[in-house]
Every structure is written in structure tokens, then in C-alpha cells.
């Protein structure tokens, strides 16, 4: 076999195979969105004075958005904090280890990863809608808050676990190459270790197996894998079946967890106990707890008796708890039940913002922002809505519309948070 010809043939097969199953557009759309949304910060390339102006402009934009109040949900990476974990930072990555006992990583969208004693994980690539968590060793329990555009990736040794909104516990023992996973809520797909087609696991199912010599051996097991971690991760209750968790030590929540998390606390509560006051919890900033309280009564039931202001509050709480679907539902109810009111216009703005920030359709976002401006041309979000429309036009590459939007914006708000962007469009 002639080596040169062989490598040419190999190259062609590699390229053909890659291209045959690759959705280039999906990757490029994601990259483009990130690039354009961040270019104002990352470029600052154009000389000292202009650089300064852009920097102040960007700062102004951020402050402006923040001033729109608690309503604003800005596109930025999730923040997180760790509890009882040893943290080592290496560049953009954090390596966490549970040396002293159970620890947790809590993300700002409500997602929590608990690590059992001895477990080690690496946290990399924290996005505005998810993160990559590599568990190199040990047991982890995960509760991912559902979002339609979530980008959560978990790896346990050679196994990858794809999740959207779910709760599961998984264990990777590096020394024996053994893997197990029990799913309580939602569904996940497991791949890796030469498995080829991913294996889908649904709520209530468990899998166990190993990865030896690059070959996966996974099997479904009928009973949940007996791991103290599993039941603990569920906050003490089996949400898949509705059964209360056993009160034995194996069913106890992690030490201190019940005290720390309203979610766990509410899940452990006596079912006869009246639900806590969600509005009080929301006022304290405990949005997850507030949302749990709403769900205890029933989201639809709570919406049924709510006026427009309360519906907007419900939408806020759901959004801040990471439940975009519920938030959208509450906003749509405002639109349906209270047309022509200021609350209805505000709901239109919020729907536009959610569509723009949460990976929805740009056309839909634009429609909602325009609806807001028609219904409340001088409303409190008018400046932001016009700025957002400008951003959408720029992102779509529609030069003519972008220039019109930029000129309109500068005429109305020459010092507004989007003025720097607008000037860069019209060249003023």
C-alpha cells in the first residue's frame, strides 16, 4: 500500500464521515450569537480614545440594563458557589474535591451538584445556560433546573450524560471502571466508551455497568442502586412515584442539606402542612423556595385567582427559579386576561426578552418588543425595547433596518445604554 495514497484516502474518508453527520449551521449559529453578543466587550480594538468610549459605553449599557430593575435577566455566565469543597483554580477551570464530607456546587439558575466524600470533579465552560461538569471519581447527585436551551453536560469517567431538566445520582469508580446511574425525574442519554448509539434512561430506571478496554457494558437494573447518595439527592422523597423516602439513615438528606435548601425542606415537609407563603419567600430572594411553594398549591391554581400584578410576580418567580415554561405561561395569561393594560404591555416586553435571551426565535422576540412599543410607547421599558430591537437587527445582519433603528434610538436616547452600538452603526 502506497503511504501517500493511503493517507489521501484516509483524509477523504475522515472528511466525508465528519461532513455527513455534522450540522454545521447549529454550531455556527451558536458561535455567531456568542460572538456578536460579546464583541462589544472583546473587541475594544480601535485605538485608545475609542477604546475608552467603548468601555464606558459597555459599562453604561450594563448599568442601564441593571437599572431596569429586578426584571432584567441578563445574558451572562451562571455564577456558582461551592459548599464544603476544596477548590483549585486552573485557568478557566475549577477542580473541586469533597475532602471532608459531602459538598455542593450551587449554580445561580438553581441547579445543584452534590459531591459525596472523596469525589472529585472539574468545572469548566460555565455558560449562561449551563456548564460542563467532569466527575473524575466518586458519587455525585445532580438536580438540573429545566430550561429549553439548557447546555448542561456531565461526564462520569468515559461516560457522557446528556440532560435537560432532571434529577439523577451517578457514581464513577475510576479504580474499577464501574459506573451506575439512577434517574428520578426527566430522562437522560448516556453515551461514551465506544457505546455508539446513546442509551436513554427514563425516570425510575437505573443502569449499571463498566467501561473496560474501551467497551461499555451497561445494563438496566430493576431496583434502584442501593446508594445512600441516591435517596439523599432527592431531598428525601421519591418524586417519580410520589412516595415518601424511607426514614432510615440511608434515606437521610446530606448533612445540613435540609437546613440549607428550601427545596429539600419543602420536599421533606408533612404533606398536610399548609404550603408556605410564596410571596414572602420571593421577597426574601428565595425564588426556588417560592416556586416550590407555588407548585405545592399548583401553578395553574395559583394563576387562576391571580390579578395582573400577581401574575407578573409569578412569572418573575418562575423565571428566577429557572422555569421558563411556567414564566411564559403566566405572561401569556396576563396578555389573554388583561388586554390593553400596562401589565399586558409589560408582559409583552418580558416575553420578548425571554425569546431574545433564552435562545428563542429572533423574529418572535422582535414581534414582542414591537408590541410593547405599540402598547406603551412611553413606558418604562421603551428605551430598552428599542435597544433590543437594534441588537436584533444588528445580529441578523439587516443593515438597512439596523441603521433605521440606530438613528431612531439616537434621536430619542442620545445617551442611552445602546447609544454606543447605535453610533457604530450610523458612523456618528
Amino acid at each position: 500500500m502506497n503511504q501517500s495514497d493511503a493517507f489521501e484516502r484516509l483524509g477523504k474518508r475522515v472528511a466525508d464521515t465528519q461532513d455527513a453527520s455534522f450540522d454545521e449551521r447549529r454550531v455556527l449559529i451558536a458561535a455567531r450569537r456568542r460572538f456578536l453578543s460579546r464583541s462589544a466587550e472583546t473587541t475594544a480594538p480601535v485605538g485608545g480614545r475609542r477604546q475608552e468610549v467603548l468601555a464606558y459605553g459597555a459599562l453604561g449599557a450594563v448599568l442601564g440594563m441593571a437599572l431596569v430593575g429586578g426584571h432584567m435577566w441578563m445574558t451572562r455566565p451562571l455564577s456558582y458557589e461551592t459548599e464544603q469543597l476544596r477548590v483549585r483554580v486552573e485557568g478557566a477551570r475549577s477542580i473541586v474535591r469533597a475532602d471532608r464530607g459531602q459538598g455542593a456546587i450551587r449554580f445561580s439558575d438553581g441547579t445543584v451538584v452534590w459531591l459525596d466524600k472523596g469525589a472529585e470533579a472539574m468545572l469548566s465552560r460555565v455558560h449562561d445556560n449551563g456548564a460542563t461538569v467532569d466527575v473524575a471519581e466518586g458519587k455525585a447527585r445532580v438536580q438540573v433546573v429545566h430550561r429549553t436551551d439548557g447546555r448542561w453536560r456531565f461526564h462520569f469517567g468515559p461516560f457522557g450524560v446528556r440532560v435537560t431538566g432532571t434529577r439523577f445520582a451517578a457514581d464513577w469508580q475510576d479504580s474499577t471502571s464501574e459506573f451506575s446511574l439512577t434517574l428520578t425525574e426527566g430522562s437522560v442519554q448516556i453515551s461514551g466508551c465506544g457505546m455508539g448509539e446513546p442509551t436513554t434512561v427514563s425516570a425510575g430506571q437505573s443502569v449499571a455497568g463498566s467501561c473496560v478496554d474501551g467497551r461499555a457494558s451497561l445494563r438496566f437494573v430493576t431496583e434502584p442502586i442501593p446508594s445512600p447518595a441516591v435517596s439523599a439527592s432527592l431531598g428525601g422523597a421519591d418524586h417519580a412515584t410520589g412516595n415518601a423516602a424511607p426514614s432510615s439513615s440511608s434515606g437521610s438528606p446530606p448533612a445540613g442539606e435540609e437546613r440549607r435548601t428550601p427545596r429539600a425542606a419543602s420536599a421533606m415537609a408533612d404533606p398536610q402542612e399548609p404550603p408556605p407563603d410564596w410571596e414572602a419567600l420571593a421577597r426574601k430572594g428565595d425564588f426556588r423556595g417560592a416556586y416550590e411553594a407555588i407548585e405545592k398549591t399548583g401553578f395553574e391554581a395559583t394563576c387562576d385567582g391571580a390579578g395582573p400584578g400577581t401574575l407578573l410576580q409569578l412569572a418573575d418567580v418562575a423565571r428566577l427559579a429557572g422555569r421558563m415554561d411556567r414564566s411564559q405561561r403566566a405572561l401569556m395569561l396576563v396578555r389573554q386576561r388583561h388586554p390593553g393594560t400596562r401589565a399586558s404591555a409589560t408582559a409583552a416586553f418580558e416575553l420578548g426578552r425571554m425569546a431574545a435571551d433564552r435562545g428563542g426565535s429572533a423574529a418572535s422576540a422582535g414581534t414582542w418588543f414591537r408590541t410593547y412599543l405599540q402598547e406603551a410607547p412611553g413606558g418604562p421599558f421603551a428605551r430598552e425595547a428599542r435597544g433590543r430591537l437594534l441588537e436584533l437587527n444588528v445580529a441578523s445582519g439587516n443593515r438597512k433596518a439596523a441603521e433605521q433603528a440606530a438613528e431612531d434610538y439616537l434621536r430619542r436616547y442620545p445617551n442611552g445604554p445602546h447609544a454606543v452600538l447605535a453610533r457604530s452603526i450610523v458612523g456618528k
Partner: protein, 222 residues
């Protein structure tokens, strides 16, 4: 980059078809105009720059790195670097080559990062081929054997040095000429030749133990 980019890989969001027509009427047909507009901070020009070169960048990264869940982030990183350095572009007609060299730089950093993690024992798998669904690959490709062979190819590449992997993949997978490979990697032609020879030797030896890869090299199926 040796292959011409697709005309316009990016489709607008649903409902923006009308805007796309407007978009085709752009005024940066000339590279010099485009570079000047980007240097002036024109965001539309930045979008045009991205649209023009990102398909090439993505393809190059994919050929070098294989399936990678972070491809979108890496493409974004390439263009962030392009913007940071755009003021230093004095010959706009060399833009394509310059962007290629940045893509190579980002790919090299990515390979080294993986290797560092590997050697530190922080991670046993420097590349997660399994995470295909997050990296742009279709979720249900029909030819699983081909996917398996592809994984094996990149597993072999993992054992090469970053430089060897770069020159090998750019030469044979991306189809670059030797001079282009040398230029993109910042090597002299002699160095590029030497590294390709070494990479070929290493890859060849390991491929002998992998029937699926051998079959590809021999021009048949497994």
C-alpha cells in the same frame, strides 16, 4: 485554507427570510473595505466577517480536533482574537491566511490543554468523542461503524504531539498544500515537511493495529 467557503452557511432565524435578502446587499465585497469597517468598529461588518470566514474556521477546527463539544466556543474564541488583532492587519488580502493561523493557534492551545489535563491525571480522556450530540453532530447518524472508525482515528491522533497532529490533519484531512500548512502553523517549509513525515510514521505504525482505520486507508470498508 484550501477550500472555498460555502456561500452563506448561516440561515437567519425563522421569519427573517426577508431580512436575509437585504443582507445579501452588503457593501463589503472587497476585503479592504471589510477590514476597514471592522477596524472602525462597525458591528455589521463584524457580522459579515464572521459569516464570511466562520465556515472555514469551523471546518478546520473540526478536522484538527475531531468531534468536540466546545466547537462553537472555539469558533467564537477565534473571532474574538481576530477582532482583538484586526488593527494589526495591514494587508487585507492576507486576511484569510491570518484567520487560518489564528484558528491553528486556538486548536493548538486546545490540544495542549487536553494533554495537560491528561498528564496531570485530572482526566483520562483528553477528547470526548461521545459527546457528539452537543457538538453539532446529528444525534442519529446511520453509519455507526464509520463513527467508530472516526473515533479510532482521533484516538491515534491523541498520541501525536500537538504540532504533528496539526500538520498531519491540515495536510491530509483539510487538504492544505504544504506551503499553506507551514504558513498556517508558523513553521518553515522544511520544518513542516519534517513534522509531517514524523506524524505519518507514527500514525502509520499505530494504524496497523486498527482494522477499521486500515480499511479506510486501503480504500475499502472494514
Amino acid at each position: 485554507m484550501s477550500k472555498s467557503p460555502p456561500s452563506l452557511a448561516l440561515e437567519p432565524a425563522p421569519g427573517l427570510q426577508r431580512q436575509r435578502e437585504v443582507r445579501a446587499d452588503r457593501s463589503w465585497d472587497d476585503e479592504a473595505d471589510l477590514v476597514a469597517a471592522v477596524q472602525a468598529g462597525d458591528r455589521l461588518a463584524m457580522a459579515a466577517l464572521f459569516d464570511r470566514y466562520s465556515p472555514d474556521v469551523l471546518r478546520m477546527l473540526r478536522r484538527v480536533l475531531g468531534t468536540d463539544p466546545d466547537l462553537a466556543d472555539l469558533v467564537q474564541e477565534v473571532f474574538a482574537r481576530v477582532l482583538r488583532g484586526i488593527d494589526q492587519v495591514h494587508d487585507p488580502y492576507a486576511l484569510r491566511g491570518w484567520i487560518s493561523s489564528i484558528a491553528v493557534f486556538v486548536a493548538r492551545e486546545c490540544i495542549r490543554r487536553r494533554k495537560r489535563r491528561w498528564w496531570l491525571g485530572l482526566w483520562r480522556r483528553p477528547q470526548d468523542e461521545s459527546d457528539a450530540f452537543e457538538s453539532g453532530f446529528e444525534e442519529a447518524p446511520t453509519d455507526w461503524e464509520a463513527r467508530e472508525a472516526l473515533r479510532t482515528v482521533y484516538r491515534i491522533l491523541d498520541s501525536l504531539s500537538a504540532e504533528e497532529r496539526l500538520v498531519f490533519t491540515l495536510r491530509f484531512f483539510e487538504g492544505m498544500e504544504l506551503t499553506e500548512v507551514a504558513s498556517a502553523c508558523g513553521f518553515s517549509l522544511a520544518t513542516a515537511k519534517r513534522r509531517i513525515a514524523k506524524a505519518r510514521e507514527g500514525f502509520w505504525a499505530m494504524a496497523q493495529h486498527e482494522p477499521a482505520v486500515r480499511a479506510w486507508m486501503e480504500g475499502g470498508e472494514r
